[in-house]
């Protein structure tokens, strides 16, 4: 499990230095005042795509010996309704789930409250799942 802790640490440092944990950068993105986050997401997708494609093409194995595989995503209307709701929260908090944890580490202890409410939101979804349109 240490390897995931270290991978997460590297990721957290990147989130901080990319200013992805900045409420200001998120506002600039949604006001079309900065290319920064579009550049980050776009280049991240391209690099990830190339990486996964190469790993599958060469049938690479993970270090525990299993063949690399990724699961397909099933479509549901939740991606529309939930996606919009998530977008509202993203712009309000100025952070998606990863950056929330990095913000706490960076010293904004009050963001633990935001995380607690995010956990509560997840729990409410679980509770109401069968009644929501999917």
């Amino acid at each position: 499990m240490l390897k995931y802790l270290l991978a997460g640490t590297a990721f957290g440092i990147i989130l901080y230095k990319a200013e992805l944990i900045s409420w200001f950068r998120i506002q600039e993105m949604f006001r079309l005042q900065s290319f920064h986050l579009y550049g980050i997401i776009g280049s991240a997708v391209l690099v990830a795509m190339a990486g996964v494609w190469l790993m599958k093409k060469f049938r690479m194995k993970s270090i525990d010996g299993t063949v690399i595989s990724t699961a397909p995503k099933q479509f549901s209307r939740g991606q529309i309704y939930g996606g919009l709701l998530f977008g509202f929260g993203w712009a309000a908090t100025g952070a998606c789930p990863g950056p929330l944890f990095a913000q706490v580490g960076a010293g904004a202890g009050v963001v633990l409250v935001t995380i607690a409410f995010a956990v509560a939101g997840t729990w409410l979804y679980g509770k109401w799942k069968h009644r929501l349109p999917h």
Binding site: M1, Y4, L5, A7, G8, T9, F11, G12, I14, Y16, K17, A18, E19, L20, I21, R25, M29, F30, R31, S34, G39, I41, A44, V45, V47, A48, V52, M55, S62, T66, T70, A71, K73, F75, S76, Q79, G83, L84, F86, F88, G89, A92, T93, C96, G98, F101, A102, Q103, V104, G105, A106, V110, V113, T114, F117, A118, V119, A120, T122, L124
Partner: protein, 190 residues
């Protein structure tokens, strides 16, 4: 060496940070065939702490505990970057945004997370509670309803050419545009 650290202490440009974030996807696959996705950790926390007999939380979360180690790492990474890799310079912000925020009394740029909105004192104001509690609820509820967040859909999903992830990503952006441009001005003026 000192020059190196000085360079690292500047904000990293998108063409450095973006590819590094992208590399996280093959890295996790290589480390243990794990699919990049962060909001799942919130579900595991529910399953571990308050399953409350809800079927959505009845699964063996221990099998997914790598995800919890990953977010613990993110927290540590935020700490390390703030302590060692920050030169303390003010956050640069687009003049139009700075002008708009000044109208709401937000004028400090000494932190990536504006203390005039996100602080313990602000929790007792309408705008603080709406942004932190309301925003947090929406992030948690919305990401699970959508089956993933920016990491699982916008990066992992798009990188593996999943069209449902494209739908989700477009809705994330649409929701963000609506909130930032039409709803947030009202909240910030409270």
């Amino acid at each position: 060496m000192e020059q190196w650290i000085e360079t690292l202490q500047q904000p990293w440009p998108w063409y450095v940070a973006g590819p590094l974030i992208g590399l996280t996807v093959p890295l996790l696959l290589w480390l243990g065939n794990k699919s990049f996705g962060i909001s799942s950790s919130l579900r595991h926390i529910c399953a571990a702490c308050v399953p409350a007999g809800i079927s959505f939380f009845q699964y063996n979360w221990r099998k997914e505990k790598w995800n919890l180690f990953f977010i613990a790492g993110i927290l540590a990474g935020g700490f390390i970057a703030a302590q060692l890799l920050d030169n303390g310079a003010a956050v640069s912000v687009h003049p139009a945004l700075a002008g708009e925020l000044a109208g709401y009394g937000i004028t400090r740029y000494d932190s990536l997370i504006p203390a005039e909105l996100f602080s313990w004192q602000q929790l007792f104001t309408w705008r603080g509670i709406l942004l932190m509690a309301g925003g947090g609820l929406l992030v948690g509820f919305g990401s699970r309803y959508a089956g993933g967040c920016t990491s699982g859909h916008a990066i992992m999903g798009l990188a593996t050419l999943q069209w449902p992830s494209l739908v989700a990503t477009c809705c994330f952006m649409a929701g963000g545009f609506i909130m930032a441009n039409f709803i947030l001005p009202f909240i910030l003026s409270l």
